[in-house]
Subunit: 335 residues, 4 copies
């Protein structure tokens, strides 16, 4: 029994995901794709052996040959397409964010609660990284006691001119927001952003790097350094500090070389390399879950909470103030 | 188009592979299984959703619902079943070794050459490990110059009483034999085995640890320490020494923890954990190749060469002498 | 020509230093010691082979058999004894801080400027650690571009009940203040302290851990996590982030062990172990400098600047506000 | 009370040691130096502040202003000068080897036994390296059980044309011989040398790299890869394998840098950098011991045993055979 997935949005990440669903995931096929750029959609479909091109997202969602939907179009479309999936009663994996605004996220929550069963998964793939999973397992194993602080580093080689200061929060640190919530098991209730000295190697409009401090319900600090134009690689690490010890996520090491006076360990060049396996694992878990009739992955509530925090984070960037965050009551569906 | 695989032998590794072919590999299903222990075969089949139990290996190989065969039965059966697959014109992935004797391997080579097209793949999964691939890429990239020596460590926590001194060569160091050939691109022409001090934690009949020195055509030394009862973990590492530098395979590092005065990195507990992803990658590459009509993976020649070396290695263990190795001429099919 | 050092204060660090001056430093001897606890001073003197016990600090400073003075008494006495050394025209190594208040530091600066030549060294020993020196060398070598941020971790196993929240700044983070100034080559102009969740393993009066953000003249952020009761070891690390890359100070690694499923690296148990060699190097550099007639080590200005920052840091702790810092003009003697 | 040391031989290592004895060791001064190249001796003496130049080694040894002797002249002179020191009743630190031949070493043993008290120390400085000491402590702590194998790597960037194949054993692997004996607490009773493929980057007369297997009394294997022209750095590591685990000596890590896609750890450029502190510690231990009237450091017996092994090792190189080693009875003085 093959799950026939329809893919909305065939940009880089959509194409990556579609290719995996067609060639690297057990139990799935891509039956249809769509994109605002139809030529691009046709090119991608041709490489997937058998996928057709749907006229638009809503047509794709309603198609009989689509059992489940993957949304990888631009963030502004996520809520509308997710709502359409719920309306059609179809499982959906929406790339992060669930929506750019918490108001839209709340609409999704309301619709899914009204539908009565979980259909929506949000693509926070880092939860599928063996390193992050090991950090979580170490915490849960008790070795390091109760968590007090989490320090994260998130560095990217370069970003294009279209990348703005708000996106440091909405596109990048949103991953640390999700990981903080997932590792610490608490909601984030405040955020402060303190701008470090700017690199001259960023476009003028961009504050880069960025330093944010998130605080959870019980007072745990989650500090995040994000650097969009670090030049040297894609470097994602963290250290979780507990009352008895710490758990750390280094760069994965698989091999090294010694030559010309130095021992060298490669740093991943991009998020595609660093988290490629995590994306695969996320998709495989989703498809395997669907085969069993379950919604496996971060829920719409997780999507809402992350968006809620980054909304406050964007305000914190522009005001320079510490912003507090208040959530709607968590529906029973997500407890 | 799903490749329907028949699995011969449902012991631990057969079950692992069958489960992956059914649940984790894109493009494959398990249509039939068989085992000398029929009850075991039925139990495994039940967990694979739809696989039937064939009466015996030959019946399975000839079945119309079997497009390709996976041989994971005991080594003594490998050649016979592989020959039957060639006779049936069906692609086959034979777990290592291709056969316990080089004479049988030569029969497989002759049969495949007569058939005129490659059908046989031998399961040297380490070639699919990202660490070993990185070592090879470093060598090929030129950074470390021309290879002069390869030092390998291969340690296992414990082995059962059935494990013999010959098996240090035929079951364990055979992996380093294959990796040496693959990394160095040369055949091994001599082998010497020098017994270290024995651990008191092995059964009396077993020489453990073992130290072997393989020499290639051009004189490269490949030293291998194998330790079956190292107690502490499954620890596989190597260092390739070139004229300008070295490339090393450490234990993979994904996370660490600091507590009680020490920083701790986990060591894999078993080959299943250490090379689980390599097995998955091997199977996926095989299935994807079949879908394209190609035989992707180590060939029967690679299987023959490894068996030829370990045959000499067993003699080296029993005689204490340095044994030299001469190969049949390599058929054009494998060049 | 042996430099005869008089040691004021024979607590743990004074005894350590005196023992080194007597037994591990070339060119020095300890001629006299003194302590408010005379019995203790006599015990220490007896172990130094030839040192006499002076009646009090001022008598020691003025003694003819004392060529240079080491001050390791409590912080409150540092300024007075340092001033007495200047008055006596004798070189002095004052353990950090130069004084608990910037006002006293300014008096020392004024006295030394009036004397007209540098006599005073302040014991910021981390500058003599090979790891920190390597980070500085990497920065100066240009590989990582211009500095933008410095992240420091400073963890201690446990502290006694006498240790207060102010001391997180005045006794502990003062080391990161000095290292930040030294690495970045800029004065710190602001400090903010954000309290993380408290460990239940500290005494009730102590905010532990502590998180501070220092800002330099040009806007570089220097973040410091200090954790007095981390339980697991003495763990001091940092990462300096530049426009092109980063330089990191890990825990020094000299050996490792693998057993029972894990690879283990020891973490230093205490600052005495971690920085023992740095203290030795600091003392040797001081003594060798004196033999050449030079004052080698961090100057009184460095002592003043560090105290100035931690004074603001203590205010930042109590007010919860970001405090700015203004310095007196730097006298020509220190440029 | 300053120990006045006379230094015989002012080549690179003699100058290094003399400079340390004059400037970095507590309790010592250099009173006299001598060298076959008198001009060189005068130059070195001038830099030591107060050392005079003696006419020759024997005159130096007998001088009243020489309390102890450091022999850093060429190996062929070691035994004669050491014997002269014993005759003069003066403590002596002889750089390794004690002598190039075991016959000469036996003469030194006989003379020292006749003298009745230990005067001779041999300069196996690696025993003072914190990494090797940590490996030994791990073994003695019991964590890794009983030793079964020791694997050592010893790589050097390049050697001059004067360096011969025998010197791989007598000058280089002699360090691993000493370390094996010291770590394992057993004498080496056999040695076999197996030549790997030669690097084209060595002079024609030199077999490089070299691979040796030493066997101890109880059957422990100590394998050594030595590579004189590894090009990339001075890389000394080992792994001691016990019945329950392993203890490893990595390259010391004090700092790292990330830039241009890689994380980089420096490898020491030379033995002077790698073991500089070990040499200092060796000298300080020797001098401190002399001040207490003790001979602290590897004894003449250790010097004899190492020379005995490398003598067999040189034969093993030229014959290609496994050579066995028999020792004279160990005099009571060395037990």
């Amino acid at each position: 029994m093959t799950i026939r997935v329809g893919v909305i949005g065939t940009g880089q990440i959509g194409t990556d995901h579609a290719t995996k669903l067609a060639n690297a995931i057990s139990g799935s096929a891509v039956s249809a794709v769509t994109d605002v750029n139809r030529a691009r959609a046709e090119e991608v479909a041709a490489g997937l052996g058998g996928a057709r091109v749907a006229d638009d997202a809503l047509a794709l969602i309603r198609s009989d040959d689509v059992d489940a939907v993957l949304i990888t179009s631009i963030a502004e479309t996520h809520a509308a397409f997710t709502l359409a999936c719920i309306e059609a009663g179809k499982p959906v994996l929406c790339e992060k964010p669930l929506a750019p605004t918490s108001r839209e996220c709340e609409q999704v929550l309301a619709a899914e609660v009204a539908f009565g069963r979980r259909l929506v998964i949000v693509g926070y793939m880092r939860r599928y990284d063996p390193g992050y999973q090991s950090v979580k397992a170490t915490l849960e194993g008790g070795t390091i006691g109760e968590p007090l602080m989490l320090h994260s580093i998130h560095r990217n080689p370069t970003v294009p001119e279209t990348y703005t200061s708000s996106m440091t929060m909405t596109d990048s640190m949103i991953h640390e927001v999700d990981i903080s919530r997932w590792l610490l098991g608490e909601e984030i209730t405040a955020v402060q952003v303190i701008p470090p000295k700017r690199t001259p190697l960023a476009f003028d409009h961009l504050q880069d790097p960025q330093f944010a401090i998130f605080t959870t319900e019980s007072g745990i600090l989650s500090t995040v350094e994000f650097f969009a134009n670090s030049q040297y690689g894609y470097d994602v690490r963290c250290e979780l500090v507990g009352t008895l010890g710490t758990a750390a996520l280094p760069n994965p090491v698989t091999a090294s070389a010694s030559a010309a006076g130095v021992e060298v360990h490669p740093i991943p060049p991009s998020w595609r390399v660093r988290f490629g396996q995590a994306y695969t694992a996320e998709l495989q878990a989703w498809i395997a879950g669907l085969a069993r009739g379950e919604a496996v992955g971060p829920s719409a509530w997780e999507g809402y909470a992350a968006t809620k925090v980054v909304e406050a984070g964007v305000e914190a960037i522009s005001t320079g103030q510490r912003m507090t965050i208040e959530y709607i009551e968590k529906p029973a569906l997500y407890r």
